[in-house]
């Protein structure tokens, strides 16, 4: 078997690749559902009904998608520069911490100032966290995959300490949770009688902004060049270190904003289980979107639908809710193969 490069990868193929991958994933997981003794068609029907089939379901999906758009953008822009940022989870919590620390009463500003303030500080917190592994990589050649990952565990423990100690809400009756964000800082709901909040608009705006930067600016050009070929980029005069630092600040910042959104929008206060793995899900979102910022929105919506729908489905059927994680994981692997097929033809010999 041989792989032959195609002369040009048509846009149509690239658009179809994630769709084909998802389809393959759903088919393979149907097998798993069969094993549990349930009917896959019933299961998937329930899944999609539970995520898209009613106003309530839709709003839940949108709420769930909001942080994943941001962590998905974070992963997408980092991976474009071949910066393997697996630390989205930790950067998310840093943003949440910033929003908690500064938003629970330390400073009071009118909402039109308070919200941008929290978003900005959350972004800074996330960006600075990612800067640590990046500096280690630039100066000491330490591989960033492991360091960003390990920082996730460290940050989570740190948050745990803070929630049981300095940041614990005295009114929480002993539960480890922080004081709630003050009213001026809360992201207002944008759809009546739902949990969908301003964060969704922020996420959508971020997606458009990231796309514009990647396509129309010199920064975007440099990030892409560095991601494809560091030696050639350096040769042409691009400052590789500066480009990676910029990418890190944007990437970590986006994940941090995700954290702000959950604390100041969805939940109102910080707990240890604020994120059911949004940072890691962001990686899957980015892969399924083929690292394209606008596609990240669709991809995040899809994954949110899977998670929300699986919760609903597993209450009705005998299928463990983890089926959603399996579907997502298989999708990531299939999209890897299908994207390859847009660039190479298989020749059987």
């Amino acid at each position: 078997m041989r792989l032959e490069p195609r002369e040009h990868s048509s846009t149509r193929l690239t658009l179809m690749a994630p769709v084909a991958a998802v389809f393959v994933a759903l088919v393979l997981c149907a097998g798993l559902i069969l094993w549990t003794g349930e009917n896959p068609f019933t299961a998937y029907a329930l899944l999609f009904k539970g995520s898209l089939g009613s106003r309530f379901a839709l709003t839940e999906t949108l709420t769930r998608a909001t942080p994943m758009i941001l962590t998905g953008l974070a992963a997408a822009i980092a991976f474009r520069a071949k910066l393997w940022n697996i630390g989205g989870e930790g950067q998310f919590y840093m943003g949440a911490l910033a929003a908690t620390w500064l938003g629970a009463g330390v400073i009071t500003l009118p909402p039109w100032l308070m919200i941008p303030f929290l978003v900005l500080t959350g972004a800074m917190a996330g960006g600075l966290l990612l800067l640590i592994p990046v500096i280690l990589k630039n100066k000491l050649k330490v591989d960033e995959v492991v360091t960003t990952l390990l920082l996730n565990f460290i940050v989570l423990l740190f948050v745990s300490y803070l929630l049981e100690g300095p940041l614990r809400d005295p009114m929480s009756m002993g539960w480890p949770q922080a004081a709630p964000v003050i009213d001026e800082g809360i992201l207002p709901p944008i759809m009546a009688k739902s949990r969908v909040h301003l964060g969704l608009f922020i996420a959508l705006a971020a997606a458009v902004l990231v796309w514009a930067v990647m396509r129309f600016t010199v920064w975007g050009y440099e990030i892409r060049a560095v991601g494809h070929n560091v030696a050639a980029a350096a040769f042409s005069g691009i400052s590789v270190n500066r480009t990676i630092v910029l990418t890190a600040l944007i990437s970590g910042g986006l994940a941090g904003i995700g954290g702000v959104g959950e604390v100041a929008g969805t939940k109102g206060y910080l707990t240890l289980d604020l994120s059911p793995g949004f940072g890691y899900a962001g990686i899957a979102v980015a892969m399924l979107a083929a690292l394209h910022p606008l596609a990240v929105v669709l991809s995040a919506l899809f994954l949110a639908a899977i998670y929300v729908g699986a919760d609903s489905m597993s209450r009705a059927l005998n299928v463990p809710t983890y089926i959603s994680d399996v579907i997502v994981a298989v999708s990531v692997l299939s999209v890897l193969v299908s994207l390859m097929l847009t660039r190479y033809r298989i020749r059987w010999r």
């Binding site: 300490y161 890691y280 994981a329 890897l336």
Partner: protein, 314 residues
């Protein structure tokens, strides 16, 4: 007892060996993969899958030894999957590895929940019992410290020597090393690079799964969600720390485990007021430090992360 007297208790050393065991298996596993030129980020998921599979085998009525072998088999399967993507198709080793970790973790939780839907507290099995080494386990201090471990711990130590021998003294080990240094040269000398790399990844993944199985079948006796807790990632750091050498991998694992065992005991000393979370952070912080120390001069296998396409010559 003060912080340093802890080091003088037999219990400390016994704990060190116990904590090191899964690290030894998984680090050796990752080392073999990377020596052949393949980064296997599926390690965390494969360890989780190994932990669940081995345990489930025993829970369903099997015996411990065949349970370990079953875990190894399952781990090898995931390794085979990873190789299809990265060795045969030459796809991104980072992304495939992350995907495999996601898949293996998700599948282990799914299967566990499916087979035990009603368990709120995880059920237990009868784990490996300690196997005292005759004569040696009666020695003062050294006896309880080193020679009263379970079978898997002894196996881990023996495995270090076996891997060293295989890599450096057998032709297949030379082929593995060459595949990770200059696969085109290996092909020119008649080696099937794709097969060697795949074999290395499968064997390495099997070892990783055994490392996970130790957690549920020897150290503890039940499967908890999130029980691997980042050990896989720590082992990736340990491989670099060990300069891809089995002997140094053993030292790294022991050093690391020792600090972990020490910090657990220090926490319990009277007068220690540092919040427990900071102690729990120690392994992760240490791993980062270890990487900082060695990364500048690390002699990576030259063809690590470089896919090999048959017939492609520069």
């Amino acid at each position: 007892m003060d912080v340093f007297e802890i080091l003088l208790t037999g219990g400390f050393w016994a704990a060190t060996l116990r904590i090191a065991t899964p690290l030894i298996f998984a680090t050796l596993g990752e080392l073999i993969c990377e020596r052949a030129g393949v980064l296997n980020l599926g390690i965390e998921g494969i360890m989780t899958m190994g932990a669940m599979s081995g345990w489930m085998w025993v829970y369903m009525g099997g015996d411990l030894v065949s349970g370990v072998m079953f875990a190894a088999f399952v781990g090898g399967l995931f390794g085979l999957l990873h190789s299809q993507f990265v060795v045969y198709l030459g796809l991104s080793q980072h992304v495939s590895g992350i995907g495999i970790t996601m898949l293996a973790s998700a599948l282990s939780y799914f299967v566990f929940r499916m087979l035990l839907p009603d368990a709120t507290t995880p059920p237990k099995i009868e784990p490996f019992q300690s196997l005292p080494v005759p004569f040696l386990s009666d020695l003062p201090f050294f006896g309880p410290a080193f020679f009263n471990q379970t079978a898997m711990t002894y196996a881990a130590i023996i495995l270090v020597f076996a891997v060293w021998y295989a890599l450096y003294r057998t032709p297949v080990g030379l082929a593995v090393r060459m595949a990770g240094e200059n696969p085109m040269a290996a092909e020119a000398q008649g080696i099937d690079v794709l097969a060697v790399r795949t074999g290395a990844v499968v064997v390495g993944s099997a070892f990783m799964a055994v490392g996970g199985a130790f957690l549920t079948m020897s150290a503890f006796d039940a499967f908890y969600f999130g029980m691997v807790n980042g050990r896989g990632w720590i082992c990736v750091a340990l491989v670099i720390f060990a300069s891809w050498k089995p002997g140094k991998a053993l030292i790294g694992a022991l050093l690391f485990a020792g600090i972990d065992a020490w910090q657990v005991r220090v926490q319990q000393l009277p007068g220690v007021n540092i919040p427990y979370q900071f102690f729990l952070m120690a392994p992760y912080v240490l791993s980062i430090l270890a990487m900082i120390i060695v990364s500048r001069k690390a002699l990576y296998p030259k063809a690590l992360l470089v896919p090999f396409r048959r017939g492609e010559r520069t």
